[in-house]
Symmetry: C2
């Protein structure tokens, strides 16, 4: 048993707003991280949650408020659902969510750091630690509270047991082929038409066969940009669209009636992320023509459960640190498998690609057991600040091989981009 002896949180911000990188219909931020470092006598663990600039100090404050549940406690215990609930169901702090927003994100940063520490102690990359854990240990990490009407521990065990069959073959496939990916770097709303055209053309040259564009500006602009991107891609490649919640339900349906002309694989966040019934209405209207995708700001397993129960999504976009860490993501992957829905994690931001590659490889190896229609988002920002950055070649993620969850920041980057004291901000 390993006891955590210290927790430090850093407010790290990258000044991305000025360039328009990451701009979409509702967000224009300085990509930031609430960065957590855990200490034991012998090892460290690293976790983060991604934020969008202003307000990162609030998430840092939430980490401080939950710190006492971790320091002095055992790594293995905190990797169980009961351990995670000391953070997510704290009898006072829970009121501030519950299980959502800043406190869920802070719990995510902390609990991911705990799991990172566990993987490092085991000398394994996170995907392997998870994929090779006994079924009982994985089930014990899932908080089944409020999801048993959709997934029981017994059903989860059956899925995970089945995931042992053919494991070696899938591992060989993963090592050889990597994991399919797509790029979101071609079509931010802050880019003009010529930049979009040039970036799409370059993406095709670089081997990408799937790209995502932002929509949700004036619909005529969206249609024009979709035409540019589709013409550069040709008919065979996948084009995804992301409205970042800007549309009302009826507006989403009307706008997608125009945009389906460009054969989108999915429409992401067509309306408010809280609107399970709204997403279901959009999916019903689009039918087989286009899948609805959401998840990057879905706060917990109860939201994902309903999206699945309502038939609201064809693509589930789990996020590694919007929710309260690895145990919560396990619940979501198992729910997706139960309902037969495709998992394509949300990435981009700061460290999200580094995180979710582990989740998709684990999902392939032990839960969903397929790569068909599945992709991990890729955005080519900020990877240089990580000690173990993703390796994406020819549009595919390579299997990570270093121990841990891959979100350790370079110490010099933490120092340089710390807010407000680091040289980038104090200048």
């Amino acid at each position: 048993m390993t006891v955590i002896t210290g927790l430090t949180v850093h407010d790290v911000r990258f000044p991305t707003a000025a360039a328009g990188d990451g701009s979409d219909a509702i967000n224009r931020g300085d990509y930031s991280a609430t960065y957590v470092v855990l200490e034991t006598g012998a090892a460290q663990g690293f976790g983060l949650t991604f934020t969008n600039g202003r307000g990162n100090e609030i998430t840092c404050a939430a980490v401080e408020a939950l710190k006492h549940h971790v320091v002095g406690h055992e790594v293995e215990e905190l990797c169980t659902a009961a351990g995670a609930r000391t953070l997510t169901a704290d009898v006072q702090v829970r009121w501030l969510g519950p299980e959502k927003g800043v406190v869920a994100m802070a719990a995510g940063a902390i609990l991911n750091a705990v799991w990172d520490l566990r993987a490092r102690l085991a000398g394994q990359p996170m995907w392997r630690l998870l994929a090779e854990l006994p079924t009982a240990d994985l089930v014990a990490a899932v908080d089944f509270n409020h999801i048993t009407d959709a997934l029981t521990p017994h059903e989860a065990s059956a899925i995970l047991d089945q995931g042992r069959e053919g494991y070696r073959e899938r591992l060989e496939q993963a090592e050889e082929l990597g994991f399919p990916s797509y790029t979101t770097s071609v079509g931010w709303l802050g880019y003009d038409d010529e930049k979009v055209r040039a970036l799409t053309r370059q993406a095709v040259k670089d081997g990408w066969t799937a790209v995502k564009m932002k929509v949700g500006g004036p619909i005529d602009d969206d249609v024009r940009r979709a035409g540019i991107i589709r013409s550069e891609l040709g008919p065979g490649a996948l084009l995804m669209m992301d409205a970042n919640q800007v549309w009302d339900v009826d507006e989403a349906i009307a706008n997608m009636e125009r945009l389906v002309a460009f054969d989108p694989y999915w429409i992401e966040e067509p309306t408010h992320a809280d609107d399970v019934l709204g997403h279901a209405a959009v999916q019903r209207a689009l039918g087989e023509r286009c899948k609805v995708a959401t998840g990057e700001v879905a706060a917990n397993r109860v939201i994902f459960k309903q999206l699945l129960q309502a038939g609201a999504i064809g693509i589930m976009q789990v996020d590694a640190c919007r929710v309260a860490g690895v145990g919560e993501v396990l619940a979501e992957l198992l729910l997706a498998a139960k309902f037969g829905v495709t998992v394509c994690p949300h990435a981009g931001g700061v460290g999200l690609c580094e995180y979710v590659q582990h989740l998709s490889f684990f999902d392939y190896l032990r839960v969903g057991r397929s790569m068909e229609g599945r992709m991990v988002e890729y955005v080519d920002h900020l990877h240089e600040h990580f000690t173990d950055p993703v390796r994406v070649e020819g549009g595919r993620y390579r299997l990570p091989d270093r121990p841990g969850y891959s979100v350790e920041l370079r110490p010099e980057s933490v120092a340089r981009f710390s807010f407000p004291g680091g040289p980038v901000w104090s200048a």
Copy 2:
């Protein structure tokens, strides 16, 4: 036009946890307030959001992060939906919600203070300011983003115009009769059976004909306590039950099959507050035997919209400061009127009774136009700290008559209970 020149936030905490006051199946807190004071040259405005102790500093940090949208801006502009959206749709801070959790609560504290200031400048209690505003001004305060599939501005205008009919008669009724109430002080989970019996007996003597008990402990205990309370109440009085989200969906249905024997008027939060479909399943199972109620932690109008669309609730429990202030509450009251669902606001905590009395009187005067089946929750804690506390007589709220929204704390209470520096906490 009045410009706000300053904003101060105070972390105020009352040490209630030790006594078991306010204890339920998932919460055991030190009732606290993130307390906002606005300044202009001539007047002040007061708002707060209620929290449960630890973590109140996080909500205070969120107020600081939103402060620049208020200081230097006009009161009247901030009372429009466009003004409120400068806080709720901030392109960086929105990521931390969106429109939920700590940042929505902080926006609620601030925007309620803005409306309080407006009411004070007009020399009117909040209920009257709202009830006598032109329809166009009220509609302009509602953020219709993401609810137009359920309520259009045109429909909202029609409801509010209709609310002008019979206004004087209803005002006379409100002045004469006050507003029906119920008490939640008899059945906290922290109280033993004899305390529950004694408190219920006293409540009946004090004129209460409606009381609420907490459930969600061991079901045999819940059944026994329900029996004690119902026997003290007699068959005529209303008994409400509140599970505070502790049950899974199937468990809620099974437990309510036992508890309906005690003829509850409603079951509140029978399962996770995010579970719209779960609440709908419970309401379908209970049918006419018991209404489902929820809302105290519902973060925004999109959640309430879905609860109504799904037929998940018979009682809508709006909270004055969980959501992003008066404009957000207006949306919810109008949605309830559109769907014909009864509004019984959530109160208790710190200042919630003070707040929501205004909302229920306004709803009666201008929106819902009925008191039938409607009640304002009453908990007899902490009113002595307010400069304009509620007046509840014979189980009914009296119409407030002083200007504002009634949540100004006494300066000596702010000083004494400030955390961590006040004498109560530093001792």
